[in-house]
Every structure is written in structure tokens, then in C-alpha cells.
Symmetry: D2
Subunit: 161 residues, 4 copies
């Protein structure tokens, strides 16, 4: 399989939720990774993205695929803070790990969001078992097409070293 896919840049996270210790993408090699970038007060994230992230988490075995929330706040920073996100995660029953994207020193767009060149929220990034970006999608993607991509990636055998 030719290596035409870009290796995913590192996550730059200010604070983690729902995980005993920080997560690095390198530590997830061998598993498919779904990064769900959202803002807790973004209507499309709440109505479509978050429920889909929960369905993905439920549909795939943890040893094959992991869902990670990425709170990429680029507006209204004062009210979408860490304390508010904790309440949101509690109220919506989210149990997958979530990272709060590291704010930039200048400008409103946080660092991971910049590194992945995300256009807004919700965005869906999918990494294959080798940590390469296989999807970087702004907006909603229907379950059938997304499921097809994830199933294909789960089925891929990692290249021998």
C-alpha cells in the first residue's frame, strides 16, 4: 500500500477529560482513531456530531478503534471553558476521552485546529492504524459512508516493518 497519506500531526491539548493520563497519537498506533472536533454550543455538533461519535464508540471494539473528542473552541471562549465542558460531558453522558485544544498565544483558533487546518465544527478526522490521515471532513457525514470508511480501515492489516 503506497504511503500517499500524511501522518497526523501531534495533538496539542491543554487538558484531558475521561482518561487517566494524556493520550498521544503515537501511543494509539495499531488502532483506527476517530477525532471528533466540536464546540459544546455548536448546534450541528450537538444534534448530529456528538450522537454519531457515541454510536461509533458503541459499534466498534476498543481494540480496533478509539473515538477522541477534540474541543476546538474558536469563538465564545469565555463560556465554553473547561468547567462548562465538564458539565456538558456529564449531561450528555459522554465517556470517550476528550482533549481541550490548546489556545494559541495570538488569535482565536487553537493549535490542534490550526495544525489540522480545520474549517469549523463539527469536523471529523479519521486516522488509519498507522496514524495517517484518511479523512478530514468539515460538517456531517452520513453513517453509511462513514461506517464504510471505518470498516475498511479496521480491516486493513498494518504493513510489516
Amino acid at each position: 500500500m503506497s504511503a500517499t497519506w500524511e501522518l497526523a500531526p501531534a495533538l496539542q491539548i491543554r487538558q484531558w477529560l475521561n482518561t487517566p493520563e494524556p493520550i498521544s497519537l503515537e501511543g494509539l498506533r495499531g488502532r483506527v482513531v476517530v477525532l471528533h472536533a466540536f464546540q459544546m454550543l455548536c448546534p450541528g455538533c450537538v444534534s448530529q456530531g456528538i450522537p454519531q461519535a457515541k454510536r461509533i464508540q458503541a459499534a466498534f471494539p476498543a481494540e480496533d478503534l478509539i473515538v477522541i473528542g477534540l474541543h476546538t473552541v474558536f469563538e465564545h471562549h469565555a463560556v465554553m471553558n473547561a468547567e462548562a465542558l465538564h458539565v456538558f460531558a456529564h449531561e450528555y453522558g459522554l465517556s470517550f476521552p476528550m482533549g481541550i485544544d490548546q489556545p494559541a498565544e495570538r488569535g482565536s483558533v487553537p493549535l490542534t485546529m490550526q495544525a489540522y487546518a480545520l474549517r469549523g465544527t463539527p469536523s471529523l478526522i479519521v486516522l488509519d492504524r498507522e496514524g495517517r490521515i484518511r479523512l478530514n471532513h468539515f460538517g456531517h457525514l452520513d453513517d453509511l459512508r462513514l461506517g464504510a470508511l471505518l470498516g475498511r480501515l479496521v480491516g486493513e492489516q498494518p504493513a510489516p516493518d
Copy 2:
């Protein structure tokens, strides 16, 4: 028509949004009033109650019926504050008047929520043209049954003085 329905207690509001001046129920006599009690981080409010409130606002002429949001925060007060509610209203495109329920001096349940004996959010309170409580419902009510009640109340002629 017999007066077996209780007159609605006054709203006790700390701050109003989407209205040039404070609203009193007495000033709304002659119109049907729908009070939609919610919390901005309550999933059932966001997925069902808020969209229904918007549909009600769109379906009835303003001279017949008014929708009023009531932000009855009884938990997580620190993050569901006035600033956060402004962002929420903006992001969700809410244009109906909203009042922030007045916090109690003691306890977490705000004053209007107490006065109406609400059990939680979302709750729906409907007042007839004479300001009497005709529905006080905890949870979701389907559009057909709610529409039937509202249509009936809109059709009622106020009793002559």
C-alpha cells in the same frame, strides 16, 4: 366558563433577553402564553423543547400567542450563567423573549420555578387568554396534542367583564 383554573403566579426574572423591556404576565392578558422552562445544557431541552418552542413561535400569530423562554437553572449555575445563555440564544437562533429565573437566596431552585412547582426541565406551561394555567407539563409533549390545546385556547373568547 367556570373559573376552576388557577391564575398564573407572577414571573420573577433577574434579567431579560430578546425584549426591549421586562415582560409581565398581566401585560399579556388577551393572548395565550407558552412558557418554555429549560436549561441550556439539558439534552432533552436542546433536542426537543427548544425546537418545539421555535415551531410554536412560527405557527401562531403574535397577537394570539406568545412564546417565552424561562431559564430555570437549578444545577451547574456557574456555567449556565447569563453570558453563556446569550451565546446559546445566538447560536441556536432564538428570537423569542427569554427570562432568567431569579435565584433563591437559599437553595438551588430559582423563584419562578418554585412558584410554579416545576419538577425539572424541560417543562411547558400554557396560560389561556385570561392568564390562567391550563397546562403545567414536565417532559416532552407531542406536537399534535400540544397544537390541539393551543388551538383550542386561541379559539376561546375571553369572558366579558
Copy 3:
């Protein structure tokens, strides 16, 4: 109340289902009547109209309102026959009375469909307690607006003779 609404023309029915004897609109005076005109192989009827008709039947007391299905077949007559309609009603669990619209001697549009000048299926016709046409709507009408109309009509007191 001024009599600006047209009295509903008589139903012309070839065969009834779900009723021990034929139904006449005159016999229903005093109740609101919802006529749901459909074809059993019309996708919009099956996905939206039929479920809504069942919801209406469930939401209103029988002494206030009756739902009547009207099988107005204007195309593919050979396969949407009485035997097929019986199977359809059984499979979809329809328990409200249904009348098969009387075919015309010439042309494909049956007689009741002609009398009400229906444009297609699904169509919704609503009669008030005095048998007057208060709605004649082609296509889907959302539950909130339809509920509002039905609630208003149920609340109307029949004019004294």
C-alpha cells in the same frame, strides 16, 4: 359565526372497511371529521399521511373527532384494489373506517375525489362540527399546525338552531 364555509359534499363510496355499516357525513354532525385521502402505494401517504392519521385518531376522543380514510385511487387501479387495501390496512394496523372512493364511469379520477376537487394524494380535508369544510390541503401539514386547527374546531360550540 358567519357561514362562509362550504358544506362538505356527500361521500361516494364503493365499499367500506373497519365499520359495521356505511358512514354518512350527515350522521357525523356534531363531531369534527378528518378525511385522509390516500393511495396505498403513494410513498408520501405511507411515510407521512398514514402515521399522522393514526396519531390524530389516538389524540382525540372519539366523541369529539373521527378520522376517516378515503382511498382515492386515480392511477394503477388494477393493483390498488379492494383486496390489496384490506391487506394494507391489516399490515399497517389501521383501525379507523376507510371508504373506497367510487370509480367514475369515465376517466381515472373517482367521484369523491372529483367532488372535493382534490389535486392528488395525500390530501387532508377537515370538517367542523357542522359539516363545513375548514381545510382542504394537498400534501403534508405539520402536526403542530394541524393540531391547532383541530383543537380550535373541537372547541367550537355548534351554533344553536
Copy 4:
């Protein structure tokens, strides 16, 4: 890959729709095959199965995957006949090939339905690129899980001879 999956039995079809000539599973080797078994008057088929079959057809390239409808009539044979199915396919805009399952000489269950031991409708049968049964599911399967299976199968490389 071990050969623990059963080779799909041949389709036994009385009449085909939407295909210039009869289809055999052997002729489809190299492609994933989705057999959607339904009855045109089965509510769950119409509300869930048929729309899903259309979504599958739209989501995958024809060279990778083919959707085939299988009209497995086991009740009410008189009204779910070939002529009615043609009308149904036309009204619902179905363009994938459909086969009418061959009636049995005795009993109401048609031959392909027997050969696959289907329990009812809707049923979903998925064959891999080598014609082996990878799923035989009675009832609805959500888009995400079904998509995952189809994506995995599309990604499989046929074993070398």
C-alpha cells in the same frame, strides 16, 4: 483467510425487474453483493429496509458492490404479485435489480427464501467478493454497523487462485 463461510446458494427467481437479463451470483464474483429481501406491503421493509437499500446503492461504486432486491412473498400472494411490484418499484423510484422469488409448489414460502433459511422480512444478506455469506440478518441493522461490514468486505482482496 480461512474458508469458514458458506458459499451462497443460487438465486431461484421467477421474474427479474430493472435488469436487461437474469442475474446469477456466479456472474457477480469479485463484487460484494447485498441481497435485500422484502415484501412490498411489509411496513418495516417500506419504512426502513427500502430506504437503506437505496442509500447503499448510492454510497458504493457499482464495480465494488451491487444491491439486489429479493421479493420474498410468503403471505398475501394474490395482491403482492408481479404487476403490483412493478407499480411499487416505479412509485418508490427503485432502480436496483429485483428478483421475484420463485414460489414453491407446496407451501407459502418461496424457494430462495427457503434456501437461505430467512425468518421473515426485511432480511439482509451480504456476500463477499468470493460469493460467501458474511451476514444473514432478520430485521433492521443500523447504517453505521452495516456500513462498517460493507466497507470491510469491499476492502478485502480476493484470495489468489
